[in-house]
Amino acid sequence: MNHLKKYAGLVWIILSIAAITLLCYAAYTNIAAHGKHDINKPLPWIIIITVFTPVAFGLGIFGYYALKNEYKQ
C-alpha cells in the first residue's frame, strides 16, 4: 500500500498539470470575438482559471508529498 501511495503521487502531479493545461486549451478554443454563448466570452474562463490554478498547484504539492513518502504509515 505504501508503494501505491508513493507512486500514485506521480499521477496527482500529472493530473494537476493536465487540469490547468486542459482548462487553458479549452479557453483558447472556445473564446471567440463574436460568439453568442457564455462559453465564448473570456470572463467566465478568467474566473475559472484564476480560481482553479492555486487549487491545481495544491494538488501538485499533494502529489509531491505522496511521492516523498509523507503519507507512509
Partner: protein, 516 residues
C-alpha cells in the same frame, strides 16, 4: 465534557445559528432569476441568469477567505465570539439586500448587491468551522459523529426553510406583487431570525478545550503560519481537501442545487412544482444525516463517505436521465392545444414602430400534464419573412401521477448527499489539533464546498453549451471530481473512529492516514 442536557443546548445554539446562515445564503440562490431581472439588466435572459450565477459563485469563491479570516480569529480569540460575529455579518448583509432599490431607480444597485454577496460568503466561510468545532469540543469521543451530524442537517434544512418561505410568500401574494416587492420579504425576515439566534448564542460558554488551552497559555499566536507553514499540518489540509471535501462538495451541490437548476432550466418544470417536490425530498432525506453521523461512530467515517461518493459517481447519469425523460414533452401524447396571439406595442431605438407578437400555446397531454409554450416575434421580422421567434419559453406542469417518481429520484440524489456530508464534520475535526483546528478544518471545507461545489451550476451550465454536448454533459464535472476524490480518499484516508481530540499535535497527522 458537557452533560447530556448541556450538549443539547450546545447543539441547539450552534445549529439554529448555522441554519439561519444557510437560509440567508440560499435565498439569494433560490431567487437568482428574479434578482437577475431586478439588479442585473440584460436583454438576453441567459446572460442575466449567468450573471447572477457568477455572483452566486463569487459568494462561494470568497468563502475560503472567510475561512482564513474567521478561522484565525476563532483560534486566537475563541470559537464563541467568532461565530457570533459571522452570524451578525451574514444577517445584516441579507437584510440589506432586501432593502436595496432595483436597478431601474438606483443604478449603483448591482455593485452593492455584489459587495453584500461577498460579505455573505465571508461570513459563511467563518461560521461552519466554528459551529462544528464548538460542538465537537463539547461531546464525547464515541458519539462525535452523531452529535456533529446535527450541524450537518442545517445546510439542507436551511435550503428547506428558504424554499418554504419563498413558496409561502409566492402563494400569499399575486404574481405582480411578488415580482414588484414580495421577493424582498424572505431577505427582510432574516433580521428577526438573526436576533433570536444571537440571543441564544450569547448565553453559551466558550468551548472547554479552547478554554483549557487559553488557561494553559497554549493558544496559537499565528494559526495561519502553523496551519499552512508546517509540512506536518499542510499535508493533512491537502489530504482533507483532495481526499474528502472536494468530492463531498460537488456531490452536495449537485444533489441540492444542480437538481433544482436542471429541473427548472433543462426540464422547464414549473418553479412551484419543482420547489415543492424538492422540499418534500429534502424533508424525507434529512434524518439520514443523523443516521450516517451515528453510523460513522460505529463503522468509521471513511467507509460511509466513500460509499456515498462511489454511488453518486456511477448513478448520476441514470438518475438525471430518468428525470429528463419523465418531464420531456416529446414522450407525451397531445390531447388538445389552444393557441392565443397577442400584439404588444414596443418601441426601441432601432425599431420605433415595431411591435411584439406573443404566441401562447397551451397544451394538455393524455397523462394530464400541461405545457405552456410562449413565442415572441418582432412584427418587422415577420414582415420580411423571418418566422424565427426572438424568444421561446416552455413551462411544463406534470400531472400528480409523476409526483412520487420525481420526488423519489430527487430523494436518491439527496441521499448521496447525506452519506458524504453527515460524517464530514467529525472527520475534519479529528484531523487537526485544538490550537489550529478552526483555521485548518475551515479552509479545506470551504475550498471543497465553495470552489469545487459552489461552481457546479456555473461549470455544468458552461459545459452544456459546448459544441457536441447534450443535456447530461454538465454532469461530467461532478462525476470527474467525485471519482478523483474517491480514489485519493480510498488510498490515503484512514477509517479510524473514536479518535481523541486534544492539543497534542504529534498524533494528528498519523491518525488520519491509511495504514493498509
Amino acid at each position: 465534557m458537557a452533560s447530556e442536557k448541556g450538549i443539547w443546548k450546545v447543539i441547539t445554539a450552534s445549529s439554529v445559528g448555522t441554519l439561519i446562515e444557510w437560509y440567508d445564503f440560499y435565498i439569494f440562490g433560490s431567487l437568482a432569476i428574479i434578482i437577475s431581472e431586478k439588479f442585473f439588466p440584460a436583454e438576453n435572459p441567459t446572460t442575466a441568469f449567468l450573471a447572477t450565477l457568477a455572483t452566486f459563485a463569487a459568494g462561494f469563491i470568497v468563502r475560503p477567505f472567510g475561512a482564513l479570516l474567521f478561522g484565525r480569529l476563532g483560534d486566537m480569540v475563541g470559537r464563541k465570539y467568532t461565530f457570533l460575529l459571522t452570524l451578525i455579518i451574514m444577517g445584516g448583509s441579507t437584510f440589506l439586500i432586501g432593502c436595496i432599490p432595483s436597478y431601474e431607480t438606483f443604478h449603483f444597485a448591482p455593485y452593492l448587491i455584489l459587495i453584500l454577496r461577498l460579505l455573505q460568503g465571508l461570513a459563511l466561510g467563518g461560521e461552519y468551522g466554528g459551529a462544528a468545532t464548538y460542538v465537537a469540543e463539547h461531546v464525547s469521543t464515541k458519539k462525535r459523529g452523531y452529535y456533529t451530524s446535527w450541524i450537518q442537517t442545517t445546510a439542507t434544512l436551511g435550503l428547506f426553510v428558504s424554499l418554504i418561505v419563498i413558496i409561502t410568500t409566492q402563494n400569499s401574494l399575486s404574481k405582480e406583487d411578488f415580482n414588484n416587492w414580495g421577493w424582498r420579504l424572505p431577505f427582510l425576515l432574516s433580521i428577526i431570525l438573526v436576533f433570536i439566534s444571537v440571543f441564544i448564542r450569547l448565553k453559551m460558554k466558550e468551548s472547554p478545550l479552547f478554554d483549557k488551552l487559553k488557561t494553559e497559555g497554549k493558544i496559537s499566536s499565528n494559526p495561519l503560519k502553523e496551519s499552512f507553514g508546517k509540512k506536518q499540518n499542510l499535508k493533512m489540509v491537502l489530504l482533507a481537501l483532495f481526499g474528502a471535501t472536494m468530492g463531498q462538495g460537488v456531490i452536495w451541490y449537485t444533489g441540492q442545487f444542480y437538481t433544482q437548476t436542471f429541473l427548472l432550466k433543462v426540464c422547464n418544470l414549473n418553479p412551484t412544482q419543482t420547489n415543492t417536490w424538492l422540499c418534500i425530498a429534502l424533508l424525507f432525506a434529512t434524518p439520514f444525516f443523523i443516521f450516517f453521523g451515528w453510523l460513522s461512530d460505529k463503522i468509521g467515517r471513511k467507509t460511509i463517505i466513500l460509499t456515498g461518493m462511489f454511488l453518486a459517481v456511477i448513478l448520476y447519469r441514470p438518475v438525471f436521465s430518468k428525470l429528463y425523460s419523465l418531464t420531456n414533452i416529446v414522450n407525451k401524447e397531445e390531447v388538445s392545444s389552444n393557441i392565443q396571439v397577442n400584439k404588444l406595442a414596443h418601441a426601441t431605438a432601432a425599431k420605433t414602430n415595431d411591435s411584439i407578437i406573443i404566441k401562447t400555446t397551451k397544451i394538455i397531454y393524455t397523462d394530464s400534464s400541461k405545457a405552456v409554450q410562449e413565442e415572441k416575434y418582432f412584427s418587422s421580422d415577420l414582415q420580411i419573412g423571418n418566422n424565427k421567434p426572438h424568444e421561446h419559453k416552455t413551462q411544463i406542469t406534470l400531472s400528480d401521477s409523476y409526483k412520487w417518481k420525481v420526488i423519489g429520484l430527487i430523494f436518491i440524489l439527496v441521499f448521496f448527499v447525506t452519506m458524504v456530508y453527515g460524517p464530514i464534520a467529525a472527520l475534519l475535526v479529528e484531523m487537526f489539533p485544538t490550537k489550529i483546528r478552526y483555521t485548518s478544518m475551515s479552509l479545506p471545507y470551504h475550498i471543497g464546498n465553495g470552489v469545487f461545489g459552489g461552481l457546479v451550476p456555473f461549470i455544468a451550465t458552461l459545459i452544456t453549451v459546448t459544441p457536441g454536448s447534450n443535456i447530461l454533459s454538465g454532469l461530467w464535472y461532478p462525476i470527474g471530481v467525485g471519482a478523483v476524490c474517491f480514489v485519493i480518499g480510498l488510498i490515503y484516508l484512514s477509517n479510524k473512529k473514536n479518535t481523541l481530540i486534544h492539543d497534542d499535535e504529534s498524533n494528528y497527522a498519523d491518525n488520519q492516514i491509511s495504514k493498509n
